[in-house]
């Protein structure tokens, strides 16, 4: 597949996957491998001061294989998100940040104002900012103008698995964007990912669609194939749709039988 450039970075796979909700770190590793992803997201949280347990998430991610994309999930304000991003940079030595500033815990929709404010600040501080945002063409354009390296409109609510609820808005966002459009959140099955890519999305970011499948590793591979299929179909130029039929076999030179 043609590689994707996000700011200064280039990744060979257009599928970005999360690290959340897996039954075990080993299952997560199997899914990461099956997905073919080269970028994985992680969250930033307080350590448990009373817990001395050994292995941490990072022990299960081979950073030679996977570029880490820390997120600001759970932040409700620009200020929280900015500090979380700064800590992530210090912790992971990366300027990549998946900016996520949510407005409420039921829908996990972004707070557009806080997201733009945080993006503006983080860009000034030299971050490569990938903001999670509603499928709102104006908000996406404003984030691009603030200097974000990509925009990540949602396909559907985080963890809903509803797929691309509004292909029109995603298509409008893509047609007007000068940065990569990464469909983030809501992908539930392989065809959802293919649809997103066929609309023109440059990549898809998902977590629950893989982690919550009955066989996560098999679904991870399905998602890998679907993203490639959708990308290829987008580049191939699909046939035009028509209401009526159009024979694929010739309609002349047919044999004749004797009417009884």
């Amino acid at each position: 597949m043609d590689p994707l450039k996000i700011g200064p970075y280039e990744i060979g796979s257009r599928l970005i996957v999360g690290t959340g909700k897996y039954s075990s770190p080993e299952v997560m590793q199997a899914c990461h491998a099956a997905s073919g992803a080269e970028m994985v997201t992680v969250a930033i949280r307080r350590i448990n001061l009373d817990d001395r347990s050994g292995k941490t998430l990072l022990d299960y991610i081979d950073r030679a294989k996977y570029r880490i994309l820390p997120n600001t999930a759970g932040c409700y304000t620009a200020k929280e998100a900015v500090l979380t991003a700064q800590l992530a940079r210090e912790l992971l030595d990366t300027d990549l940040i998946k900016l996520e500033v949510i407005g409420d815990p039921q829908t996990l929709y972004p707070d557009t104002r806080e997201t733009i404010a945080a993006a503006s600040q983080l860009v000034k501080e030299g971050f490569t900012v990938l903001p999670y945002i509603a499928d709102d063409p104006v908000a996406c354009k404003q984030l691009e103008e603030e200097g974000c390296a990509a925009v990540m409109p949602l396909a559907a609510p985080i963890g809903s698995g509803l797929g691309v609820c509004n292909p029109y808005s995603i298509r409008i966002i893509k047609e007007r964007a000068n940065v990569p459009v990464i469909v983030d959140a809501g992908v539930g099955t392989a065809s959802d990912a293919a649809v997103a890519m066929e609309i023109g999305a440059d990549a898809v970011l998902m977590n629950t669609g893989i982690a919550a499948a009955a066989d996560p590793a098999a679904m991870a591979r399905a998602m890998k194939l679907a993203v490639e299929a959708g990308r290829l179909a987008y580049l191939s130029g699909r046939m035009p749709k028509r209401l009526y039929a159009n024979a694929s076999s010739p309609m002349q030179d047919l044999i004749a039988v004797h009417e009884p």
Partner: protein
Amino acid sequence: MRACINGKQYDLPDGLTVAELLDRFETPRTGVAVAKNDRVVRGSALAQEPVEDGDRIEIIKAVAGG
């Protein structure tokens, strides 16, 4: 003196550095990052950065997420 570490109040001896604070909690140096009063403390500065009365310290790590 008292400081707020990850949202909880702790009584601590005076003259503590952030590095010493991490040691107190047997927190590994690697795989964590620290902020004091909403500003990141670089790893290289942990040993110099004092913990003072009323400070708010955040010690974070990477966890699974989407």
